[in-house]
């Protein structure tokens, strides 16, 4: 990572940790505020072919000031070994921010000389860092502006008012697919797909910290919680039979902050270089290789680790790509007592450098946890594909049978009535129309049975989570204004978002094995948010206890969906009979 980008990312991470810990925001609650990052670049007077960059980071919103700048310098310096620039508080030397709209109780600045290429890379890395933050902290907004030789370019990063899924580990994940993949032409979008992710949460895997690093004075347990989802999520019973095209792995540390920046050379991801170290892909007939060919210049969130599927020779001609498997790995610290800022910061520093070692120490539990989440997602994908195949086969039989009667009939009035009904001139056209209409109607009906915007899976972590969820719903209902903000909106463009004016919150608890997971819920076109929790039974992580949601009324759609899942199971059972 470029040094300037690294500095910006570390400062941002420090500030967010500070706000979260020092402002007394409960762990499950979301940070609400705004940060401005501006880079002003002018030709350097000291170095030829270089730009003098003044980087300003300012905060606004409900962010509590009270930042101990000296402590910041003291804490952050070890994380920035290559940054020689002096970090100053704007109040000491006057602000340089171009963004005057932000009332900044806290503003800091540093200056560096960069060549234009490095500056561009810095900007891309910072943007990716911001993208990684906003999918978890969707109430945070970042104004990122760059002025080069007087030409301003600005973007706003935020995911406020976008649909999010609240996981039981306290993380709220933005589930709009647009954060993760392009809509075209990479995927076969002629197939119905859900505009949202439907993650499956794995059970938390306790991590042991290697002896030499363990003496941090932490009282509690370090855990890794995986969440897996397909993107785009095949909707209903889509025919997306393709294998997944590639798995993306995103690493997050305590407080849901990105664990490492987008730098493939970071030692913390070394353990993932062996694609099969934690995940047995062979059981799904997949063979994975690390993919180092990552393009920074993209509008989508970049994974920390990326594999590519090695196709067998006979399948290499397949052009259509399957969905991407997104795997979020949340490393967090569970403690009965409040964890201080310094401890969180220290933990982040530790994980940034020693994640591979820590994960390797607990390979078996990590493997078990990640594998179960991945298995569930892929199994559901496989089942949906099989179901679709059977549906297609049935419709084909129906159409062929109708055609057999029609073509064999000697009744001209019967033939005429049928052809007229479908406005076909001959039996060939009739056949084509019949197949298409049959497919469209039945597929449409199946999709109508799928809804995820009113679905909420409650965490199985019993009443505490249920109460938290209720509280969170309440908070969201009060806090979210009816305004829109898209991801990475460019100020030069008209601000708009496909999710404008839409709110959604759902909660997902960990599920072991093949209990009905959240990921099976489907949504077509979400409209108004429903913040009511629903009663659902989801298999619990470790203790196997099943907890029903006491706080939520049952929705009819849930019944409908459960019925469909039941039908699906029956349909797929070996002894199925019609």
């Amino acid at each position: 990572m470029e040094r300037t980008a690294l500095a910006v990312c570390e400062i941002l991470r420090y500030l967010i940790i500070h706000w979260k810990c020092e402002a007394g925001i409960p762990k499950g609650a979301l940070l609400d505020g705004q940060l401005a990052i501006s880079i002003e670049a002018l030709p350097s007077k000291h170095l030829p072919d270089s730009l003098r960059c003044i980087i300003t980071i300012a905060s606004a919103g409900n962010v509590d000031g009270g930042l101990d700048f000296k402590k910041l310098l003291q804490d952050i310096q070890p994380a920035l070994p290559r940054l020689s620039a002096k970090l100053t508080l704007a109040s000491e030397e006057g602000g340089h921010s171009q963004d005057t709209s932000v009332k900044a109780p806290c503003q800091m600045t540093f200056e560096v000389d960069e060549n234009s290429r490095s500056l561009m890379t810095d900007c891309l890395v910072i943007k990716h860092f911001l993208r990684k933050i906003i999918i978890v902290h969707h109430k945070l907004k970042f104004n990122f502006s760059v002025t080069v030789n007087g030409i301003l370019s600005a973007e706003i990063f935020g995911a406020e008012n976008e649909p999010v899924l609240r996981l039981s580990n306290g993380i709220s994940l933005a589930v709009g697919f647009q954060h993760y993949v392009s809509s075209k032409p990479q995927f076969n979008w002629t197939e119905p797909h859900c505009s949202r992710l439907h993650p499956v949460l794995g059970h938390p895997a306790p991590l042991s910290i290697p002896g030499a690093k363990a003496n941090m004075g932490l009282l509690g347990e370090l855990t890794l919680t995986p969440a897996a989802a397909l993107c785009p999520s095949p909707k209903g019973f889509s025919s997306q039979l393709n294998r997944i095209s590639s798995p993306y792995i995103f690493l997050y540390g305590p407080l849901g902050l990105p664990l490492v920046a987008s730098d493939q050379e970071q030692p913390s991801t070394a353990v993932f270089r062996d694609a099969s170290y934690f995940i047995d892909w062979k059981k799904h007939n997949l063979f994975m290789l690390p993919n180092l060919d990552l393009n920074l210049d993209t509008q989508f969130i970049l994974p920390d680790v990326n594999y590519k599927v090695e196709l067998p020779e006979e399948n290499q001609s397949q052009n259509a790509q399957g969905p991407v498997l997104l795997l979020f790995l949340f490393v967090d610290f569970q403690s009965g007592v409040p964890v201080h800022q310094g401890e969180i910061w220290g933990l982040h520093t530790l994980l940034t450098t020693h994640l591979s070692t820590i994960l390797s120490e607990s390979r078996s539990t990590v493997q078990d946890s990640i594998q179960s989440a991945v298995d569930q997602v892929l199994e559901l994908h496989h089942q949906a594909a099989k179901t679709h195949q059977r549906l297609q086969a049935s419709l084909s039989v129906a159409v062929t049978s109708i055609m057999s009667v029609l073509t064999g009939s000697t009744s001209s009035s019967f033939r005429k009535t049928c052809l007229q009904a479908l406005e076909a001139v001959d039996t060939q056209e009739f056949s084509a129309k019949l197949h298409r209409i049959f497919y469209d109607i039945t597929q449409h009906q199946f999709l109508n049975h799928c809804s995820c915007d009113t679905e909420q899976h409650l965490t199985p972590e019993k009443k505490i989570s249920a109460q938290n969820t209720k509280d969170q719903h309440k908070n969201i209902g009060l806090e979210f204004p009816a305004e829109s903000s898209g991801q990475a909106e460019n100020k030069r463009l008209k601000r708009s978002s496909p999710n404008q004016g839409r709110e959604e919150s759902r909660t997902l608890g960990p599920a072991r094995d093949l209990s009905p997971p959240e990921s099976v819920t489907r949504d077509c076109d979400p409209t108004e948010a429903s913040l009511t929790a629903r009663g659902s039974q989801t298999q619990v992580a470790n203790d196997g206890v099943q907890a029903a949601d006491a706080a939520s009324p049952l929705g009819g759609l849930e019944d409908l969906w459960l019925q469909e899942v039941s039908n699906l199971s029956e349909w797929l059972s070996p002894g199925h009979r019609s």
Binding site: V397, S401, V405, L422, L434, I437, E570, W571, R577
Partner: protein, 396 residues
């Protein structure tokens, strides 16, 4: 009849004759007679038109952007059954229905299979050929997966179109046997003589095509099990009790065996008796001959013979004949459930003696097979039990 072997002297059949006289009197009054609708067999063109109408409805539904569905009378609910002593179980005119939807994962496959079989039936009728259910299954065995799926769908289609299975040009391979004083001409002109001998004649596959039926039989005995039927043949039961006819459906009767029994009743109006095990499943089989089954109730008027009487083996016979307990079998939980279900059926109230026998079965908690009589003597059944029952009117 000249060919009839010598049977018992005429007075032996006094009780039977009196029973037959009462049956004939009942027939004269109109009871026990086949209703008019049973005689109406739709023509091939009518069935073809019915199938075309179904296809047309599906197309129109699709043209309206609506997912098509079949609506089929619910044949598996007692709520849809009505009982008349003269006709047996019948479907209510306004019965509940079930939908076989094309837009439900649960039913889309069945929807497709119904269409598939409808198209096969359409071709069979057009070409005036017949196929067995087995033939249909083997045409697309991978698609149908099992014979039961085909059987069920054919019954559904028969119910949906309200036509007998034969009008669909679907026939079932007969498993039943017939023996005794009966001759007839088959549809193709073959003359069949069911002589009293050690061999029996297979029940024809086209009952409708049987013509010129001739018999002097005093009664028709339906034997539940093939083993008992063969034993009676070996014991020359038909000769000893001549003139008579014996039929077996080898357990639960197939359609042709039931059609044959119905045809023999309609043609000759002779007393019809059943010889079944003294257990709930024997009683169930007897009820199927007499009043029909729920699943085929839509065609009951062509299949039931409500005048059938229960000759044996009665649960009361077990006690009366002092059959030792070690020849008896304890009732299983399943037996008890079956017995309870029969006792709840609407026709049981018309038969207080049947009810009493079944309660006796329930109280004893034991059942007996017909073979239990062999404890008394190997030919006790054919030489003593049945002759006495027939002679002295031991039926209920």
């Amino acid at each position: 009849m000249a060919l009839a072997p010598m049977g018992p002297e005429a007075s032996f059949f006094d009780a039977l004759d009196r029973h037959r006289a009462s049956l004939l009197a009942m027939v004269k009054k109109g009871a026990g007679e086949t209703p008019d609708r049973a005689t109406r067999v739709p023509s091939s063109s009518e069935v073809l038109t019915s199938i075309e109408n179904i296809i047309q409805d599906i197309i129109k539904s699709l043209a309206r952007n609506e997912a098509p569905a079949f609506t089929i009378d619910n044949r598996s609910s007692w709520e849809n059954m009505t009982f008349e002593d003269a006709f047996g179980l019948q479907m209510r005119p306004q019965c509940t229905t079930r939908k076989i939807k094309s837009d439900s994962l649960r039913s889309v496959r069945k929807f497709a299979l119904i269409l598939k079989i409808l198209s096969m039936i359409y071709k069979l009728i057009q070409s005036n050929t017949y196929a067995t259910k087995r033939d249909i299954y083997y045409t697309e065995s991978q698609l149908f997966r099992n014979q039961a799926a085909v059987d069920s769908i054919i019954d559904d289609i028969s119910c949906m179109l309200k036509v007998p299975r034969r009008s669909l040009h679907v026939i079932s391979t007969s498993k039943g046997l017939i023996a005794g004083n009966l001759r007839y001409v088959e549809e193709d002109g073959t003359q069949v003589q069911c002589m009293c001998s050690a061999t029996a004649t297979a029940v024809p596959s086209n009952i409708q095509g049987m013509q010129n039926l001739v018999t002097d039989a005093k009664f028709l005995l339906i034997v539940e099990k093939d083993a008992t039927f063969q034993r009676l043949l070996d014991d020359n039961f038909c000769s000893r009790m001549s003139p008579c006819i014996m039929v077996t459906g080898k357990g639960t009767p197939d359609l042709n065996t039931r059609l044959l029994v119905k045809k023999l009743w309609d043609t000759f109006h002779i007393p019809v008796f059943t010889l079944v095990d003294a257990d709930p499943y024997g009683i169930e089989i007897m009820c199927i001959y007499k009043y029909g089954s729920m699943s085929m109730s839509f065609e009951a008027h062509n299949l039931t013979v409500p005048t059938i009487r229960w000759l044996g083996l009665l649960p009361s016979d077990i006690k009366r004949l002092n059959i030792p307990k070690d020849s008896l079998i304890p009732l299983t939980r399943r037996d008890q459930m079956k017995l309870d279900s029969i006792l709840r059926r609407p026709y049981i109230t018309y038969h207080p003696f049947w009810k009493k026998e079944m309660e006796m079965l329930a109280d004893s908690k034991t059942k007996a097979e017909i073979q239990a009589l062999s404890f008394l003597s190997s030919d006790y059944l054919s030489r003593v039990y049945l002759p006495n029952k027939l002679r002295f009117g031991g039926w209920i």
